[in-house]
Assembly symmetry: C2
Homo-oligomer: 381 residues x 2
């Protein structure tokens, strides 16, 4: 671990000043001969520029941080997977913070921006408190928040559209003839929890279905909690014919419980998850799930941040990502799910009238206010 050569070492070796070395290495106009000597010395010594020193002078670190609750959650994972290549292509390194959704931790990260170890931050808090808003306002570097933040918070914001998402799912279930659609939610004091609860009520109303408290159960966003919640639901309201779950993990828990209870999915109870994680496709029966576009949200956030880093001041933007419904066996049955799969693979439309009908539900509804991000494939603007 010998001390590496610096610009000084090279200057001495090449018999020039450090200024010349710097100029050559940065491609500024220099006499041919000097260029040769410097490059030669740099090559011989295996010189690598010290990024810390460079950062100190340039006030840029070429690093960006992503702070999320838990890297183990497939939703955040999907985000990281998109964020990483976007940043990388722009020459930024990615730094990861796992905060366990701990508010104090998240605030620490925001304050930590003062240390200037990153040029910007993408953050996806589960809860947004007063403290968050204050810290965001005082942040010493650009921040993009994934997850709704009040207007006027002064930060770029990428939003999912739970409202439309839940609506898609309930329309789909309604179309399949389900009328007792229960809702298994995560904590009501989280951003997604609150949004999805409201969305559920709204969607019921739009469909002319009554809101029945007995059909709503709250746990946490994990498989075990989901299982417990669903068990409670079944005990209380045995006649449910569909479960809308606030994320895929809860839905997996639901599948466990239903299987154990001898209820067939989807014949007796249809199940819809949310987030459309990798797990949904692997589960059995494969899980119909509302995609809230985690990947697209990640990409949009990265692009917003890059834009801000390059173009400096400008009005904060809000980008909303359209949800989609990924229809699989847990609502339409194994047979049709396979047909759909096949159709997707071969690029043809599914055959049956029933498939046709539910296909309509895949159409995303009106976009809400704000910009709307397009396909994952296309860029931001």
């Amino acid at each position: 671990m010998a001390e590496g050569p610096t610009i000084n070492t090279i200057a001495r070796h090449a018999g020039v000043s450090i200024a010349s070395v710097s100029r050559v290495l940065n491609g500024l106009p220099t006499r041919e001969e000097t260029v040769r000597r410097v490059l030669r010395a740099a090559e011989e010594l295996g010189y690598v520029p010290n990024s810390v020193a460079r950062s100190l002078k340039s006030r840029r670190t070429n690093q960006v941080a992503f702070a999320m609750a838990d890297i183990g959650n497939p939703v955040y994972l999907a985000m990281v997977r998109e964020i990483q290549p976007v940043l990388r292509a722009a020459g930024y390194r990615l730094l990861l913070h796992s905060t366990d959704a701990d508010v104090a931790d998240e605030l620490d990260v925001l304050r930590g921006l003062g240390e200037r170890y990153v040029d910007g931050l993408i953050m996806s808090p589960l809860r947004v408190t007063e403290g968050h808003l204050r810290a965001l306002a005082a942040a010493r570097a650009p921040v993009v928040v994934i997850g709704s933040v009040p207007e006027g918070a002064g930060v770029d914001n990428v939003r999912a559209d739970s409202r439309t998402g839940v609506r898609l799912a309930l329309d789909h279930l309604y179309g399949l003839g389900r009328r007792r659609v229960a809702f298994v939610n995560g904590p009501a004091d989280t951003v997604p929890g609150a949004a999805r609860a409201a969305a559920y009520r709204e969607a019921l109303e739009a469909l002319g279905l009554p809101y029945d408290e007995d059909l709503v159960e709250v746990g946490d966003f994990y498989r075990e909690d989901g299982a417990r919640a669903v068990q409670a639901l079944l005990d209380r309201a045995g006649d449910v014919d569909a479960l809308m779950c606030a994320n895929d993990l809860i839905a997996l828990g639901a599948l466990d419980v239903l299987r154990r209870a001898g209820r067939r999915v989807p014949e007796d109870v249809a199940v819809v998850g949310m987030d459309d994680t990798d797990l949904a496709a692997v589960a059995w029966p494969s899980l119909t799930s509302v995609s809230l576009g985690s990947a697209r949200r990640g990409r949009a956030a990265a692009e917003l941040l890059l834009d801000r880093l390059e173009n400096g001041e400008r009005e904060p933007r809000v980008v909303t990502v359209e949800p989609r419904l990924a229809v699989r066996a847990s609502t339409v049955g194994v047979r049709e799910a396979e047909e759909r799969d096949e159709a997707l693979r071969t690029g043809r439309a599914p055959r049956t009238g029933r498939a046709q009908r539910t296909e309509e539900a895949v159409q995303a509804a009106e976009a809400p206010a704000g910009e709307v991000a397009g396909d994952a494939g296309e860029g931001l603007r």
Copy 2:
């Protein structure tokens, strides 16, 4: 984004020198009065120390990088999940590199250590080339490699034990009466690919089973490739009664193909995956899988690196993590898998003699040379 206060600003405000400010902030002995003035000024101005400047002076960045092929692969994810908290507890930030298993990229990362933007690196290359060894030898910061690297490479090394792992799986299958056990591998020029191929031959031999080329198929470590490979296998050797897959993704592909071919799992064909990722538990039927201890390897790597960062020079160490077999429905059937689950939950041993027998296979075999890491729970030494 106003320019933040520096140590100079504080010095002026408090009417002292920058040296005093630094001393106070670092807790060096100082007169009471000065301490008060400095702290007051720092508080008022909302001072946050600049970590870049600090790094330049101290030659430490308090950052560590983890370079892996693809953050989307659950194996690496499991590692990150363990690495992150360990590093964090020691005050290090985690930086992520996704190299797509591209050799040039990996070498770039190693060379990049000369930029001194991190204090150390954990790297998990899929292939280890001559170039890797050279770059490792020349690395300007401590590196821990996850994945076998030749003795004498001079780096700390955390290894899986594929040999024992495959052996556990084949013993298990043999115990269930399977005799035509096929092997679906990933590319032979990767470290795990090569290790697992050798392990398969060895395990067969130990069981007195013949090695049949027709029973071996090579694809890539992904679901689609696995499916293709298994299809080819079935076309060629319809009488296989078990599939040993070189990772879980391949095994998932195998489940797809078998289902489509109308082969029951495990009645007609038993399937074993490898890595015991989250997907294995979710799949249907749930997937028996050899855990190579991704989580434990991640943790061990982080601890090795920390140890080296704190204690400086010392002989490179090799840590080998013991494999285990997670027995699930894809080999023993849904019924028994559920019983095992239940037993695990209630902490009692499973009932049936058959369960008893396969339980023995769960015992890890002799540990190979080198240190052996214990449970995920316990520390390194």
